[in-house]
Every structure is written in structure tokens, then in C-alpha cells.
Subunit: 190 residues, 2 copies
Amino acid sequence: MPPRIYLAGPEVFLPDPLAMGARKAALCRKYGFEGVFPLDASLDLTGLSKLEQASRISSANEGLMRGCNAVIANLTPFRGVSMDSGTAFEVGFMRALGRPVFGYTNVTAGYHERADLYRRATPGLPDADGPDIDIENFDCAENLMIEAAILAGGGQVVRTAVSRGQEMRDLAGFEACLVQARAAFHPGPQ
Amino acid sequence: MPPRIYLAGPEVFLPDPLAMGARKAALCRKYGFEGVFPLDASLDLTGLSKLEQASRISSANEGLMRGCNAVIANLTPFRGVSMDSGTAFEVGFMRALGRPVFGYTNVTAGYHERADLYRRATPGLPDADGPDIDIENFDCAENLMIEAAILAGGGQVVRTAVSRGQEMRDLAGFEACLVQARAAFHPGPQ
């Protein structure tokens, strides 16, 4: 049985998420892993309220994560300075379980540079985004809890410059994470 | 020994974070808990590179979380549509450990409304924030993984309308989370 990798990221919100899941799973196989995409669980949500649907999906995803040996997370900024919050949750979840975390972003600018740009581009922001709030500066691509979790598991955040419009679709950084995962799970000459 | 609550949120970036930690800790005592603020660990970071500092801080925070019985997270949007990514990481971390998660936000608009507003206010966004990316719509304040984790632990996200400029400082929602935590940890008449 190949090690299983949970495929965390906002790709679930793409117009054709299953196609992206299939692309990632195919790359996983190439490197000796089984990819597990959040939408792999087929759920019957009929008759449920929206909150009940949310709980059902969450429960399924948490179950998928517990069944995986590692996670590769897409850290690309999503609707603001930072990565998707659901993906950040999943990185923390897997880290707490002691599973290695790998991550990539398709924006090369670091967290400090992005937050500073956001602040200067959008004056008059509410308090939480206001000018007296410190911007952490640790040479990280993301909040230090994310990046340090990746480092602690033997990974390194992969930053890739991609063509405009391909931020959600370019998988070169994802594949670089698979190289890291292979070195962790299948050490020795490749 | 009172149950210990990890105080997750971007308040660590305030100009005087320790004052906020002290305010939160005082409220925790009022409800029969010990509050644990991320900056409670006193760390010597001299001589370390930025990435080494990040790893040292992360390791300390992870240790503090493992020593806590629950978490109360500030979900207020931070530098974009969503909450602070480090806080999202910590919510996932505590959820994976099976500790109850409580959460509050000082912005009442739900996730879908905020993301839709962001998209309409800022046309020409890069791919990850572009118009063909689905906006989840589950009546949640945040990504469903966050909100469902709170529901699963018996909590409910508290949304509070606060005065402009007080998004990072108003603690009414935090105190409402303490009421929820007291009901979970100290059931019976108060």
C-alpha cells in the first residue's frame, strides 16, 4: 500500500474540482503515493440544512485526513493576503497528528511583503487590518505556525512564479512537494 | 486546577499584545478557567536566524496548545476575507487533539457575503481570487472546516457587531465563548 497524501487546498472551489483532483492524484502515483482529494468522499447531503451539510463535509474530510500519512497543502494566497483558512485548519490538524506537512505557493512574494502591499494599497481598513497592527517578518511565505510546521516535518515551502491566471492551476510546486515527500517516505537513490 | 484555555487570535500583533493577553486571562479567571496566551512562553531568540526564530516560537506555541483543554479563537477577518491563517492552523491543531474549540468574530457578515463583496470591490484579481472560483455558502462565518469544528465540540460561533475601530479589541464575543466553555466544562446551574 503506497503512503496516502491528503491534498489540501482551495482547488475544491474550482469550476471542475474533480479534474484537478485527478491531475494531483496522477502525479502522486508517479511518485509512489496515493493522493486523497477532499471531494473523494461521496456524500448524500439531501434534506440537510446548510450547517448540517457543513458538518457532514467536515466530518468526512477529517476522516480522510486521519487516514492519510502526510499532507501537501496549497498555500497560495486566497481572497486576501493569506492562504485559504480551511487549508490552514487542515495543516494544523495534520501537524497535531504528527504527520509530515508539505506546502507550496504559486505567489513568490513573502508574507511580510504581501501584507505591506495590501496595507498600502487599501488605506482606511478596519482595525484588524489597520496600520498599528504588526506584520510578522520571519522570511516566511505564510504565518510562522504554517511554515514552521512544514519545516518541522522535514519539508520546505516551495514558492513558484507562475503565469498570471495559473495561480490555482499550476502544479510545478505541487510536484516539488512530492519530491520532498518521496525523500521522506522512500529514502535512498531514486 | 482550572481547565486551561488557549487564547488563539491575531491579538499577538497588537501594539501591546501582553495587555490584551492580561484582559483575556482576567476574563478566563472570572469563568473558572486559566487563560494561556501564545506570548506566555518567554523565549530567548538572540542569535537565531529569522526562520529559526519562527521555529522556536512555533514549537513553544504547539507546546502551550498541547497543555490546554480547549481553545477560544478570534475568527475576525484579518487582512482579507478570512481569519488569521495562524489562528486557523491552531483551530485545526486543537480539533485534531479532540479539544473543544470555541470561536467568535467581531464582523457579523458571513463568509459568503464577505467574499462576494471582496470580489465585487476588487475586480481584476488574480486567478485564486477570480470570478470563476466558487464561494462556499453554508451560512457560516468562516470556511466550513472551522465552523464545523466548533459545532462538533458543542460550541457555536459568536458574531458580534462592534464599533468601527474595535474589531481587534472588543471582548464581548470572547466572553460569550467563555459562557459556552463554562457550560461544557462546569455543567449545572451557574
